[in-house]
């Protein structure tokens, strides 16, 4: 996204588009990346319940992936997984 100059933006940091947090890709913050092992996953959805963002993608009651645009790498999903199906790896390592 091209950053605007002072003549183009609204004053005082005013935001007039509601629901705009989707534009802010907080995945940039991540230093630890969760890697999910599909074979070990039983779709118990503990990770989906506990994720403080909405970074566990679920379709028809099954985990289909992790949304790395917004996952900040907190590691809660890995911690709560009863089947050790999510491993945290150093970002850039894999």
């Amino acid at each position: 996204m091209k950053e605007k100059g002072w003549k183009e933006c609204l004053w005082g940091g005013l935001i007039v588009d509601a629901g705009n947090s989707v534009l802010y890709k907080t995945g940039d913050w991540r230093s630890q990346k969760p890697i999910r092992d599909e074979k070990k996953c039983t779709d118990c959805l503990q990770c989906w319940i506990m994720c403080p963002d909405a970074a566990i993608k679920v379709k028809d009651g099954k985990v289909v992936g992790i949304d790395y645009d917004y996952c900040k790498g907190c590691g809660i999903c890995s911690k709560v997984c009863p089947f050790d199906a999510i491993e945290m790896k150093e970002e850039g390592e894999q």
Binding site: E3, W6, C9, W11, G12, G13, L14, I15, V16, A18
Partner: protein, 388 residues
Amino acid sequence: MIQALSGNTAVAYAMKQVNPDVVAVYPITPQTVAMERFADYVADGDVDTELIMADSEHSAMSCCIGASLAGGRVMTSTASAGLALMWEVLYVAASNRCPIVMNVMNRALSAPINIHCDHSDAMGARDSSWIQIHAENVQEAYDNIIQAVRIAEHENVRLPVMTNMDGFTLSHATERLETLDDQQVQKFIGKFKAIYPLLDVDNPVTYGPLDLYDYYFEHKRQQVEAMELAYDVVKRIGQEYGKVTGRSFDMLHPFEMDDAEIAVLALGSTSGTARVAVRAMRQKGVKVGLVKLRVFRPFPKDGLKEMLKGMKAVAVMDRSDSYGAFGGPVFSEVRSALLGEDVEVVNYIYGLGGRDIRQDQVEQVITDMSTVAKTGKVKSYVNYLGVR
């Protein structure tokens, strides 16, 4: 209508005529009476205002910001330590572009505790991005409040305005003044136009989000621009007000400057004293003039340069000091505006904590300036007038 009102009652009367949506206040000498009188208007049903009695000045200004962002016309009043306690939120009001109008009865800052006039309070807030207007007398204090509403709300400006007047010297002095009719005031200020109000729930907006190194600088640059655009707005509204009342206003008000060789520059009620001194010295054949600095923010740098270039000596009267700096705040800026001009600028810091400034003292300053003009020599650039 011609009335005899004290500064405080004139402020309350002007606010009554503006009839703001919200006024949030906390009492502090010497402006308490203004708010007591305004509370009378609220109690008597003379205004439609929601009056909020806050638990501190910090809260009062915070309430004003909330009400302004919600979409209301908002006013308040304070002085001295009250203004100092608003410190943090003064910047929030300006940065969120809240067109709040606040009357400040200028009073010294503690310690030692002192209730009388100097400009330390207003000068401390000079970098907060509030427009600052100073009144010479009660008439101007009344006139400034009505103009301030228009200036603050102008779409090119959208900044809060602080109308200053000297504590006790004006706040507690009863003077003759001409007031407008309520309808004239309403016609002059017009209907308040909210821009992106929070109460427009069909169009939700967010004020005050986290603004880091990627955009904060741009938003500050916009405030610089608003101040630049305010020069023209202050002038035009001052002229328009003149058409209604016969009293026109500008950033700078010169007196006997046409053929002046030396000048005195002052703001607030001291310009009245200085005018009498200039008149007396003129009768003795001294070619001296007075420049009244009515608007301190935005600082009228170009107008000052135009008015003061060619002077042999200029005395700048500062009613506050900037400890450790080279002179008072007005002096620094006047000197800076005159950069490159061959004018000696000399600072007189006076009247701290309400010490009287007398006509003979200003006459002595004028005599000093005559000496500087004749000899080309300045004994001391920063002088303390009236201290023992």
